[in-house]
Subunit: 411 residues, 2 copies
């Protein structure tokens, strides 16, 4: 038998989904599992968008244009314009989720062996797309102590080599919930000019910017229009993760033209998803307000309760719907598996995503997990009740060491 590929071997299993079999086993035993491990919100999809399917007037479910239905692209350009991002529909290529948008961006701009610098912790699947495309991710470590702000620009400069072609950010950030400031965006603008780099920004959580903070899109950086690619998706915006509709947005026509060649090879993005996404453009402001207020409440609940547990710390994120939690455990990977495999409290347990998979530097994030506050407040309360008990029962708890760490921090 011929061997499978080396890159297939190197391809990381999703740390977010790796524990799924343990969760399934727990559920089969009758345990309720609160899924705080994955960004699958319980928020309802706008009903008028689903209604578009219910009144579908088509006899043939045909291919769309490889770049997406023109009507959807025009509508999407309008959505951006309303948010202060002045682009034309020709600057948009519709993709199969944000995932494909990242893949096509990498493939169009980076050769195998090229380097892209990404602040860590970062969305774990960036690693998968890098292995798939033969690109090397060079991490710059951000820190829980300052809420995972952009690391000092000197840290970036130290890592730039002749192979560095791009910097990539996720804004607001998954997994940290950090929202980059205008000054941080400006620092990135300067460094990509200075070192002749591309800047990719995953902005799929654009709508989720809290506490009066403004979202600063990469598309509004001046003088770098040709260097900038924005990756987007409707998954989180309208709670439509399953329809797999994303987009590449850039004013660099060569990138769009190159990405479109990849797009032609795969024929078209999902047609039904585009129908739903196009209808979703007409989602009323009240929907976003309601969702926004709901997430604010959830975040406040999660942050307050977690920080009241001995040995636990999480920053207060200003965007997205994730937070990284530092925990008094020997190994978050073991702890998360133990939660599913051996623990329950009143018939319930919690699924978290161990944070080590969000770091590219080995050894980092070993005591951290990503928590997605995607469930209703009642479920979140129960989940944290269970976690609180779990931290006391877990055989690998490290509370003594943790207290020392906290004392050091409070100096």
């Amino acid at each position: 038998m011929p061997k499978l590929s080396e890159r297939g071997r190197q391809m990381p299993a999703s740390p977010i989904r790796r524990l799924v079999p343990y969760a399934e086993a727990a559920k089969k035993r009758g345990t309720t599992v609160y899924h705080l491990n994955i960004g699958q919100p319980d928020i309802k999809t706008p009903e008028h968008a689903i209604d578009e399917l219910r009144k579908l007037d088509k006899e043939v479910l045909e291919y769309s244009h490889s770049a997406g239905y023109e009507s959807y692209r025009r509508g999407l350009a309008g959505y951006y314009q309303e948010r202060g991002i002045q682009i034309d529909f020709n600057n948009i290529m519709v993709t199969t989720g944000g995932s494909e948008a990242i893949m096509f961006t990498f493939l169009s701009t980076l050769n195998p062996g090229d380097e892209v610098i990404i602040p860590e912790p970062f969305y774990t699947n960036y690693n998968g797309f890098a292995v798939t495309t033969g690109v090397n991710v060079v991490p710059i470590t951000s820190n829980i102590k300052d809420g995972f702000a952009l690391p000092p620009i000197e840290d970036f400069e130290k890592k730039i080599t002749s192979r560095t072609k791009a910097i990539m950010i996720c804004n607001p950030n998954n997994p940290t919930g950090y929202l980059y400031s205008k000054e941080e965006m400006e620092a990135l603008r300067k460094i990509i000019i200075k070192h002749d780099l591309f800047l990719f920004a995953d902005e799929v959580y654009r709508e989720f910017a809290y506490d009066g903070h403004e979202h600063h899109s990469v598309m509004n950086l001046e003088g770098v229009e040709d260097r900038v690619v924005m990756v987007d998706s409707v998954s989180k915006r309208y709670s439509e993760c399953g329809i797999r509709i994303g987009a590449i947005v850039t004013r660099n026509d060569d990138i769009i033209a190159t990405a479109l060649k990849y797009g032609q090879a795969r024929l078209s993005p999902p047609g039904l998803g585009q129908i739903v996404a196009e209808a979703s453009l007409h989602t009323p402001k009240e929907y976003f307000d309601e969702v926004y207020n709901e997430y604010i409440d959830r975040r406040n609940l999660v942050v307050e309760r977690l920080n009241n547990i001995e040995g636990v710390y999480t920053p207060k994120p200003t965007g997205a719907f994730y937070t990284v939690v530092s925990m008094p455990v020997d190994d978050a990977e073991k702890f998360c598996q133990w939660l599913l495999d051996e623990f329950e409290y009143e018939g319930q347990t919690v699924m978290l995503a161990p944070a080590s998979g969000f770091y590219a530097t080995p050894g980092l994030g070993k005591q951290e997990a990503r928590l997605a506050y995607v469930l209703n407040k009642e479920s979140l309360e129960k989940a944290i009740d269970a976690l609180e008990v779990a931290f006391k029962q877990y055989p690998g708890r490290t509370l003594e060491q943790k207290e020392t760490y906290q004392q050091e921090n409070s100096k």
Copy 2:
């Protein structure tokens, strides 16, 4: 500005879709364009499958499992079993169209620089997937004179090197319409054992096998279960090209596990498409019979009429809904563009796919085009009426040479 990637530059523009702007311009001038260039059938999607969307009872359009909904995978396994392919749902991973199935198959089994042997002409996007994954396609030329049968196995052996990892076929074939015989499949079985290779078969046209010929699935080759990957899609089977639902089917668990890692990185295949595809499994036999008879009629019409045009030749395909046509023109690429750009007959013209893009060997297919008989008979008649006139008017016609070629052939 940093340069775009070398692989992005090498990525071929789709020869099927390259002429789209000319077709759009023709339509804007008021010319009717018969689209025989693309495998987008006018056949209706089974109505009960679309109805599944009309009665959709969901509030959140959520991610599915990365391998696809288990209920759909179980149903799909049943579909194969009914067709004599004994597999389990665990042998199936649902993908975003057949395109992604090929990508994940290449990525899971082949390293950059590895070679896959494919009889040419072949589905042009295989080139795109090869460039994307850094794999080298090694073509073996099949011939219009014998209807594009499998080339002699010695031709394969001559091309096998230390980098050869796989042979790939499309059965029934796109673009030739050729259906591989049991003997040909057996020859492939032997050569992959002898040279320790994988065998990939794109069987998306399985249902379209004509004139009493049986389709011999790669999944039924004995003793090579671990070496075989079948690529499938619902696009053509149920005229659902736009929903983007395909599958990888293999009894090699390592390949499924590796492909699933790529699948996890992109989260899930389209959810709405899976709902339609699952409902489509219950399509009554009458639907297939009707479609089948319609395609037989169309094929007969196209083959008979084309072969009655001076200087034109096409074999009589026994599968799929394509045929490759040899034409009395200097350059099929120029001719196809001229059809859209300068020609019309009674306000109508035809769009064909120049065949050169389906060959990997430079210079081949220069007088050939692929015709997809995906329109109703009335449209096909009108399209061929127009073609007949076009062959007389085209400035680059080569009828004299063509007659010589035919005389040689008839010796």
